[in-house]
């Protein structure tokens, strides 16, 4: 039986590590659902889980590149706070005076400026690391203190609120979602693209005469992908918007409220859509671009990369600039979700992000890591925290559990790698 299963998965040619992570996640979910008497696996909780995961997951995709090149970035939490403060002040106190209060362009300009500043700060840290050869640990430890302090200076410690209404949609409240129809459309497009990609890749391989997996395996893979995508949309669409909020929303849009009350549902949250776009983009960058190839080559053997003509110093600058830009995106999501920017925004996020990447199979020794792994890692971390909070585990015990899980996950990964020689 066990052998049959093994060969089944081997024929599917799915990364066993991916299977392991998904398996761990499923076990975790079922456990929490049993302990909470069915409160964990509800559309409502899964919706919240997806929104809560987005910010850390966005940063975790960038942290993969950082860790793959044998660096670390301890500054992302503080930088997220600083960027939140800058973007909050910009949309609240500066832009209204320039383009007029309530102008449609405020959220766009805010996001662009935030991403640009994030990339600049990241590039600066990358320059210190790449060109001045100061260890990343030290540079970003300094950054952790400096950017948190700088965030305080922006408003002398005052909370910035309320944020621009359009900007707030990016945080995924009741209105910050695609709604029922939008969610189905996105899911169907995603499902079609997934199936097309699976079979295109098969055709490309066979035209080159490379080995392909059996046809039934492709069908299983395509079937599972479609089921997961549509299932996700279905669950998100099963979470109704509370009646009062729904009535307010429909009135604002000038729609007629049907008899028996409104039937609005949430659907897929906008931060999740942002995460999806970034996950796809980062996966393409990692696997299909020279930049991504050089990131992994440098992580595998820095000397070989250098001897191959790769400018590893400038590469470091680019990696940290990308990390900074992604931190800005995460900051948009985090601050928009809260609707306000406080002094402690992003505190300890660096540890969550690093843990997500590492639980997701990124090796601190460099050269190994995947984008999807980091995202699943972020989901596991968030599930643990939400689940424990729901069960009523005390905060100190929560920390202990998360810490133990982190160490255990890395240990299992090391054992797995020794066994498979990967």
């Amino acid at each position: 039986m066990a052998r049959g299963l093994k060969s089944f998965f081997r024929q599917l040619q799915i990364d066993t590590r991916l299977l392991g992570m998904v398996g761990a996640l499923v076990v975790l979910w079922i456990l929490f659902d049993l302990v909470t008497g069915g409160r964990f696996l509800t559309p409502r909780n899964l919706f919240n889980l997806s929104v809560q995961t987005a910010s850390v997951a966005v940063m975790a995709t960038g942290m993969v590149f950082v860790i793959v090149t044998r660096h670390i970035d301890l500054s992302v939490g503080s930088l997220l706070g600083l960027l939140g403060m800058i973007m909050g002040t910009l949309q609240l106190n500066i832009l209204p005076d320039i383009v007029g209060s309530g102008h449609w362009s405020i959220w766009i300009i805010t996001c662009l400026v935030g991403i640009a500043v994030g990339a600049l700060v990241g590039a600066f840290q990358g320059w210190l690391i790449g060109y001045l050869a100061i260890p990343a640990f030290i540079v970003t430890l300094g950054g952790l203190l400096v950017w948190r302090g700088a965030a305080w200076w922006v408003t002398s410690g005052q909370t910035v609120a309320p944020l621009d209404p359009t900007f707030k949609l990016l945080g995924g409240g009741a209105e910050g979602t695609l709604g029922a129809t939008g969610s189905w459309i996105l899911a169907i497009i995603a499902a079609v693209v997934a199936v097309v990609l699976i079979f295109l890749s098969r055709r490309r391989k066979s035209t080159h005469g490379f080995a392909v997996k059996p046809l039934w395996a492709e069908y299983v893979l395509a079937g599972v992908s479609v089921a997961v995508i549509l299932g996700f949309a279905f669950v998100m669409n099963s979470y109704p918007i509370p009646e009062r909020a729904a009535i307010r929303m429909m009135e604002a849009r000038g729609e007629v409220i049907p008899e028996g009350g409104p039937t609005l549902v949430h659907g897929i949250a906008i931060p999740v859509v942002i995460l999806l776009v970034i996950a796809i983009a980062m996966t393409v960058v990692a696997r299909r671009t020279r930049f991504g190839r050089y990131v992994f080559a440098t992580g595998g053997n820095p000397d070989a990369a250098e001897l191959s003509g790769i400018n590893t110093k400038f590469l470091t600058v680019k990696i940290f600039a990308l990390m900074g830009a992604l931190t800005a995106v995460a900051s948009v999501i985090a601050s928009a979700r809260l609707g306000a920017v406080g002094n402690d925004l992003g505190t300890l996020d660096e540890l969550r992000v690093i843990a997500a990447a590492v639980i997701g199979g990124t090796a601190l020794s460099g050269g190994i890591g995947t984008i999807y792994g980091a995202i699943i890692g972020a989901l596991i971390m968030q599930s643990l925290q939400s689940g424990m909070a729901m069960v009523g585990v005390d905060a100190p015990l929560q920390s202990i559990v998360v810490g133990v899980v982190l160490v255990l996950a890395v240990f299992i990964d090391i054992v797995y790698r020794k066994r498979t020689g990967g």
């Binding site: 393409v284 671009t289 595998g300 053997n301 070989a304 191959s308 003509g309 050269g367």
Partner: protein, 256 residues
């Protein structure tokens, strides 16, 4: 004779007081194989790493086709069509053979994405010529044997139309058959007019493949001889004792 393909004049480099290369001059003509010999730590690898752009010399100059060349990085060296098989192989262990072969020079699609299928197909072709038993195209090179890894490093140097080829102990890990194939490869490249610096500890190999030998000891050049003018014992004497061959004939003494 024609202008040399490569002339390294009076090269010097030291690492924290150790003179790893101490006023060494060597040259190389098109279609010629020059063997670099010397004991461990004599400075052979360091000398050729200056030519391949891995190290910057403290002094001396490099001429390529009679013109002064500026080589500050491996990229510069590649621009002069200098290809190198490093003693350490310089492979990224986590990547597969094709990714290593094309590292820094990936084949891209019209949209600018790396074309892994094309690169794998090219890799299969060249490996078929160099090491027909090679099969592990999708495994990371960390999963390869020493000789298989060496084959990948050789394939990388040969694939990109080198004019100057540097081979630092290219057959150290190879089996008899694979070593023979590299020997044939060297003959073939030579016939195409490529100049080769070959570093090796196997004197018989050197005598079979090289036209001239340059011997180094403690960072200095002992001398350069045509192989037909000297015996293996002469060369051993140069390597071990640093003494010139007995026969007092014209040698190409470096101008210092």
């Amino acid at each position: 004779m024609a202008t040399p393909l490569v002339e390294m004049r009076d090269m010097q480099i030291s690492f924290g007081g150790i003179k790893a290369v101490d006023h060494v001059s060597v040259d190389l003509y098109p279609g010629e194989v020059v063997g670099l010999l010397g004991h461990n730590g004599a400075g052979k690898s360091t000398l050729i790493k200056i030519l391949s752009g891995a190290y910057k010399a403290d002094g001396g100059e490099i001429l390529i086709n009679g013109e002064k060349a500026v080589i500050n990085s491996p990229r510069d060296a590649r621009a002069y069509n200098i290809e190198t098989i490093y003693q350490t192989l310089a492979l990224a262990d986590n990547l597969d053979a094709a990714s290593n072969l094309f590292l820094g020079r990936e084949i891209v699609t019209p949209l600018g994405f790396v074309d892994d299928d094309k690169m794998e197909a090219e890799t299969r072709e060249i490996m078929g010529r160099l090491n027909p038993n090679f099969e592990k195209f999708s495994a990371p090179v960390s999963a390869l044997s020493g000789g298989q890894r060496q084959s990948v490093a050789i394939a990388r140097a040969v694939y990109f139309d080198a004019r100057i080829l540097i081979m630092d102990e290219p057959t150290a890990a190879l089996g008899v058959h694979e070593t023979q194939m590299v020997a044939e490869l060297i003959e073939q490249l030579k016939a195409e007019g490529i100049g080769i610096f070959l570093i090796s500890h196997d004197i018989q190999d050197v005598f079979k493949l090289c036209d001239r030998v340059s011997v180094m000891k403690n960072g200095q050049l002992v001398g350069t001889e045509r192989v037909e003018d000297v015996t293996e014992d002469d060369v051993l004497g140069m390597i071990i004792l640093g003494k010139q061959p007995d026969k007092n004939r014209k040698t190409e003494e470096p101008a210092t």
